[in-house]
Point group: C2
């Protein structure tokens, strides 16, 4: 084990899109676990859209990162030294150590991951926070019913790709929206979406939705916001539901974007727009993971990962993800489990 740890420190609050210089890679002394704690070597770290919100000073749903903090985020790693009776050297665990090679966590804050069930990286993706977000957002917040018409933005991302496949499992017709032809090809041909379009190749989103969702939209699962979401207001069905999971098109703006005021459409349609966070369903995560694991093992739920190698590339991977550079779950591989 090295004597020094490497960590990414939050150096300055981004203005607009984050820059690599907003993060500092530093060396620091290797931490040592106290009673009830474990020392973990990071294997994979997760970069997710919500982290951009934590980099603001303002009141996001998660507490703000402070300048000088290790950049936060979910990790999967391997226990290298345990002072907690439930964990042993070599155990694979999910924790929230952020962007660093090693970290100490309280034993009661981490969960074991069984590497015999699925690749351990899935604990940060389809069998982790993004997968559960898709599951509870679509089925609970969205109150999806079998056979409905579903539209998903951010369709090729970790959450959106899972949403679309769960909707297909439920017998729905699913249309996706994403930002490259490669992503469109992926969700239709690899994941089984019924149709999809590249929002960068279309100007009239209303007309496109009328064409691809000719029976309207019963459930819209929104990861992006912006003009595509505006067009959904014009195409939502009677008693339709718009699940606001993410608004990545807005996160890097200094002032909110302007768009048409369309709330009157909700009267006509008696439709609902509702925000959701996966943490609101915490007491049901185990149930969700059991179902998602069954679907993954049965081959009904596929997943793709975009893996960037090396802790030193975490900042660029994060920035790339915010700009849509990933297909499926964006991860950073920090070390190989032994």
């Amino acid at each position: 084990m090295p004597e020094q740890n490497r960590q990414y420190i939050f150096a300055s609050r981004p203005v607009g899109y984050p820059k690599e210089s907003d993060f500092n890679l530093v060396s620091s002394p290797m931490p040592t676990p106290g009673d009830g704690e474990v020392l973990i070597r990071t294997c994979y770290l997760s970069v997710d859209p919500y982290m951009r919100g934590r980099m603001r000073k303002s009141k996001s749903y998660a507490a703000s990162l402070e300048i000088g903090d290790v950049v936060l985020g979910g990790t999967v790693g391997q226990v290298v030294n345990s002072k907690h009776p439930d964990f042993h050297e070599g155990d694979i665990v999910k924790s929230y150590l952020g962007w660093q090679e090693y970290g100490v966590a309280a034993g009661n804050s981490i969960q074991k991951v069984d590497p015999s069930l699925a690749p351990i990286s899935t604990a940060l993706g389809v069998l982790g926070m993004p997968g559960l977000t898709a599951y509870f957002g679509l089925l609970e917040t969205g109150q999806l019913e079998d056979g409905e018409h579903v539209l998903v933005s951010g369709a090729a991302g970790a959450v959106g790709s899972t949403v679309g496949q769960i909707a297909k499992i439920k017998g729905c017709r699913v249309v996706g929206v994403a930002g490259t032809d490669e992503k469109i090809n992926h969700v239709v041909n690899d994941l089984g979406f019924d149709d999809a379009f590249n929002y960068n190749s279309v100007t009239d989103y209303d007309a496109k939705l009328q064409a691809l969702c000719s029976d309207g939209v019963d459930v819209y699962f929104d990861n992006t916001g912006g003009p595509v979401t505006d067009a959904v207001f014009l195409n939502i069905n009677l008693r339709g539901r718009m699940v606001i999971c993410g608004q990545i098109s807005q996160y890097n703006l200094q002032e909110p974007d302007l768009g048409p005021r369309l709330l009157w459409q909700l009267i006509t349609k008696r439709a609902r727009v509702e925000g959701m966070l996966v943490s609101d369903f915490a007491e049901r995560h185990e149930d969700g993971l059991r179902q998602m694991g069954e679907w993954v093992r049965a081959g009904k739920l596929k997943y793709k990962e975009t893996i960037t190698e090396g802790l030193e590339n975490a900042a660029s991977a994060f920035i790339s993800m915010l700009k849509g550079g990933n297909i499926g779950k964006q991860l950073v591989k920090v070390s190989e489990p032994e």
Copy 2:
């Protein structure tokens, strides 16, 4: 009884705010009731914001008015000739005859009004469609809980004034928004709202809401839309509900207004925005009216009416109402019951 009837005919689809020339006052032969029908002399007719939507060619929730139609709307009148066994000359009835002095209606499409319970005009206001809209919108769509913090736009109108008083009955703190100081004075001093502000005297609605709703907003009942509603997105509480009942600020625009895209606030707050129509609660209207009637008779629920005299002034009353000229329910008095 005169030989001729007078009717207001829909003459042209308004562009922007309606003009009086969009409506034609004409004489036509007095109608005669067939079997199962009654001839009714209009006492009061109602002008309501939703009618503006019916004047569009497009798909509003109500069928479009066609050029040449009598302008539609709720009425209270007196039976002058009945060919239906349940109705007799002199009965006061609620019907949907629109802007005319006399009309024929099927007996199964009208309801008796008991003049001993409340003034008959209330059947078009607090004990009619606007009152039920307030009742079901606040309690069902808004899922109001006792003691919550409520904000109402269009606070001095027929719906908003009722919403605020029901919320007070439920032990809530209520703040209103309206467009004149006279209206602000009315809702606070006559109706018991805790506070209110004139949106025409304020520029920073966010700051105003932070000041007047310092504990945030649990339920926002929206009759107007526009910049005040934008500011509510910034002040809505965790699991808050925004009931979209009307968007009168938008109805007379030729293109939707632009405003900031703020849906990301719904994620932070896990808040919900939902449109409602009173007709969705039709099978429970009797229950609602029973409760509202009790509150009115107990003096817990007050109402005000702005009454314009004469059928010939229906168009100007309608236009005035769209511009906020009324306090409480805007009615047109067409004749005195005998």
